[in-house]
């Protein structure tokens, strides 16, 4: 074929190219009704007049998507391979550190899977092509996060307890119902609530709190594999957060009647997210052997400052800061201590280890929490240590009372009184329901018919629903705890209890060539 110099075609900018390649793909159906094809988008009362007003912030064609994502994956798996080949798990600061990964794998990884399926729903339910594609890309990204997390933590699972049965436990173990119910709450809602719950409240407002300080801390604690998957995931999250913000602006601009609905979703999902993050607060303050940033500092930067900027921006639509946000600031001095105390108490029934903070830990906590730690929490932890020294490590073997909404044991103090446990109660159709906070109570009151359905682990245990089929609680010699652990697939004496004296600790010392005495010194 002879060479020609054809008239060069019009050069397309990123925006135009994306619009031409993508936008016109959808059409107004005529053989079936649009209401049939997209049958979920009306029941929440959100009004959308023109889907073409949707602005794509990141105009990724599939070609660019594959190209950049493949590059990210090549980098990531090269590091995971090197990490495995070099027994990188031995480079972490201390064996205790691995417990953050146990919590991550059983709490966050399943949430990523929920997000994967949730965004697949939205990718099918939104009639606008731009919005649908953005959701589909997020759906496949979230699957990436699940798998890169599993593939990274795979190496830790080979050497440490508590991770082998993560998938089984996630559907069953008591505290794992906190993230599980959170995601199921979002997924069972209408599409706009789903979007605002996860894309906006969780991703935009709150995930920075998980990924930025925690991943930076992973690096600081010598865990190169986790920091790599964490930051690599987070690069997708940046796209997702932008989607969340774009979506909320789009909905608010479509119709003023959407504003109060969106505000209610924001109030609800801010509070749901905040309660969920109490698990992160204790990861930052108690579970990292080498600490980077306190929960309070992280909350100040990522919620008060960044969230504040965001809500300033949204105020032009008539959106205000989420209800009860002041309470989260007032409680920032207390959240992690109260949460860690709960897990110290119930360590016997948890699939990760907890421990009383060391002198060094407590010095750091005093410095970071000058107004609360020494006064309210240090004495309690010192008492735990005394008990432990006498060989009487304290375990609470009762079943905790759980909040009907967030499902966290009622452990939080009153926003205006650190010495008093917050407790709210509502009667609904003749039954009493218990709550940890005003926020959780309000959420229940708005949709009681939804939250009465909650599968509350403590109640389920009492009702005999947490034993393997065929187990007879009436049989002589029935051991409820042992049967519950079987149902959880939790190996007692291995997965649960205090870090000190655990198999993880013994192995760690062996692998590092440390005698127990040296270890105490090193810790």
């Amino acid at each position: 074929m002879e060479k020609t110099t054809a008239t060069p075609p019009k050069k397309l900018g990123l925006k135009e190219k994306y619009a031409l390649m993508t936008r016109g793909l959808g059409w107004e159906p005529t053989y079936r009704g649009a209401d049939e094809l997209y049958d979920q988008i009306k029941f929440e009362g959100i009004k959308i007049h023109d889907w073409s007003k949707w602005e794509d912030p990141f105009r990724l064609t599939m070609e660019s998507y594959w190209k950049y994502q493949a590059e990210k994956e090549r980098k990531l798996y090269a590091i995971i391979d090197a990490f495995e080949q070099n027994n990188g798990h031995l480079n972490v600061s201390d064996g205790r550190y691995v417990n953050t990964l146990k919590l991550f794998l059983t709490g966050i990884t399943p949430a990523e899977y929920g997000a994967h399926r949730l965004f697949a729903m939205l990718g099918r339910q939104f009639p606008g092509v731009g919005a649908a594609i953005a959701c589909q890309m997020q759906a496949i990204d979230e699957l990436r996060h699940v798998q890169t997390q599993v593939h990274t933590i795979s190496q830790y699972n080979k050497f440490f307890s508590g991770m082998s049965e993560w998938r089984h436990m996630t559907d069953r173990v008591w505290y794992m119902s906190v993230p599980k119910s959170f995601f199921e709450d979002a997924m069972t809602a209408g599409p706009f609530e789903q979007m605002i719950a996860i894309s906006f409240s969780l991703e935009y407002l709150l995930t920075n709190l998980v990924f930025m300080p925690f991943m930076s801390a992973a690096a600081y604690n010598g865990d190169m594999a986790t920091v790599t998957f964490g930051f690599s995931s987070q690069s997708d999250e940046a796209r997702h957060m932008t989607l969340g913000l774009e979506c909320i602006k789009f909905v608010l601009e479509q119709d003023p009647a959407n504003v109060p609905i969106v505000q209610r979703y924001l109030d609800k999902w801010f509070w749901r997210g905040y309660r969920l993050l109490s698990l992160v607060s204790m990861m930052l303050d108690y579970m990292l052997p080498k600490k980077v940033m306190s929960w309070k500092e992280a909350w100040e930067i990522y919620f008060v400052q960044n969230g504040g900027s965001l809500f300033n921006d949204l105020s032009r639509y008539g959106i205000r800061m989420p209800k009860y946000w002041e309470q989260t600031v007032a409680s920032a001095d207390r959240l992690s201590h109260e949460t860690w105390n709960t897990f110290y108490n119930f360590a016997g029934a948890a699939a990760f280890h907890s421990w009383a903070p060391s002198d060094e830990d407590m010095a750091w906590l005093s410095e970071k929490y000058p107004d609360t730690f020494d006064q309210h929490y240090r004495p309690r932890f010192e008492w735990y240590r005394e008990q432990e020294a006498q060989g009487k490590r304290f375990y609470n073997n009762s079943l905790p009372m759980l909040c009907q909404t967030c499902q966290i044991p009622l452990n939080a103090s009153e926003p205006d009184d650190p010495t008093k446990t917050a407790y709210r109660e509502v009667e609904h159709e003749g039954n009493k329901y218990h709550f940890c906070s005003d926020g959780c109570r309000d959420i229940f009151c708005h949709e009681p018919e939804k939250y009465v359905q909650a599968w509350l682990p403590a109640n389920q245990v009492l009702q005999g629903n947490c034993f393997e089929p065929g187990v007879d609680p009436e049989a002589p010699g029935f051991d409820a705890a042992a049967e519950l652990f079987k149902y959880y697939r939790l190996t007692p004496g291995q997965d649960n209890g205090d870090y000190r004296g655990s198999k993880d600790e013994a192995n760690w010392l062996k692998w590092k060539g440390l005698a127990p005495a040296d270890a105490a010194e090193a810790a």
């Binding site: 793909l25 699972n157 440490f160 089984h168 199921e184 909650a454 697939r489």
Partner: protein, 332 residues
């Protein structure tokens, strides 16, 4: 303090996760596909009924009439997990990109005879809407399907179909000098040209199918297996007689995708049909209905492409599909 690590002390405590060990016959080193694919979906102790489907659980086996003792038996022979999938597609895409650049640089498409260009615009470009529907349908299966193994495959297929729609769009942009006019004309044909209406009706009907496995059969097994071989390789071959080998370059991705995807579709159908007579009967019945509808809907499109040979082309594609279906134990 010096630390000496004796390698003998570094034996792993276990080799893989418990759920994976139970699936692969014991605690041994598992592949990344295995660790990243099975049992990811919650199966029990659901908290709330969906507002959008209050009769069922969030994840519910009853969203299809197909039953499986173990839904994660529907494995992907390509063993794609996200990383291997994007790396594979990115390599494929690299090759296609070079083709597109070459065609654009030398204005190869625009040197085709005018009649041929018109035929391309009329017969090929409206298919981008069919691919968009295929994307939506696979997204539906991903959202409402059961089990992480099969919904992983449908997720990848969702994105593949968007990519094909975008490749078709690029062909249009090559033909119309980036004005987008050819794409608008193609959409108009899709909406009102009588030749496209039976297919559009079929596609819209597929998009309201509630049973996700039935949709898998209609879309991924039947429609794709009759439409793709009818169009891409065959149309390029036809055009190359007229000096348009260039089309083969532009549809190379579609061909590669179809071969790759068919392996996964066949494996899925085979395992589901082998599970029980009831499954086999259902799949066969769905496939037969779909085949009848698809053949009717494709005939005018085949004629648009191959004129008087349209029927013959469709018959050949159908015969090839019958042979393929027979290997899966189906009679279509």
């Amino acid at each position: 303090m010096s630390v000496e690590i004796k390698t003998a002390n570094l034996d792993p405590v276990r080799n893989t996760f418990g759920n994976v060990a139970r699936r692969i016959g014991g605690d041994k080193t598992a592949s990344r596909y295995q660790e990243g694919s099975f049992d990811l979906q919650p199966v029990t102790n659901f908290h709330y009924r969906p507002l959008w489907d209050p009769e069922r659980e969030l994840y519910d086996k009853r969203r299809t009439a197909i039953t499986m003792a173990d839904w994660d038996a529907l494995r992907d022979p390509r063993q794609f997990y996200y990383g291997s999938y994007v790396m594979h597609r990115s390599r494929l895409q690299d090759a296609s990109e070079k083709n597109y650049e070459l065609v654009e640089k030398h204005g190869l498409l625009k040197r085709l005879p005018k009649g041929l260009t018109r035929r391309l615009k009329a017969a090929l470009l409206p298919l981008r809407h069919v691919e968009w529907a295929a994307n939506n349908n696979n997204c539906y299966m991903t959202a409402y399907g059961y089990g992480s193994a099969i919904t992983q495959g449908t997720m990848y297929n969702t994105m593949d179909r968007l990519a094909i729609a975008q490749y078709l769009s690029r062909i249009g942009l090559l033909l119309d000098d980036n004005t987008g006019e050819s794409l608008e004309a193609a959409k108009e044909a899709w909406m009102s040209d009588p030749a496209w209406q039976p297919l559009r009706r079929l596609v819209e009907n597929s998009m309201v199918t509630k049973d996700w496995f039935e949709l898998f059969v209609t879309q991924n097994l039947v429609l794709d297996s009759l439409l793709h071989p009818l169009v891409y390789r065959r149309f390029a071959d036809e055009l190359s007689d007229e000096g348009a080998a260039v089309m083969a370059m532009l549809t190379e991705f579609m061909d590669a995708w179809f071969n790759d995807s068919s392996r996964w579709v066949d494996a899925t159908i085979k395992v589901a049909a082998a599970e029980s007579d009831q499954n086999k009967h259902l799949i066969n019945a769905w496939a037969r209905t779909a085949v009848a509808n698809v053949l009717d809907a494709l005939l005018p499109v085949a004629r648009l492409m191959y004129f008087e040979d349209g029927k013959k082309a469709l018959d050949e594609v159908y015969a090839a599909f019958q042979a393929r279906a027979a290997k899966l134990g189906l009679t279509v």
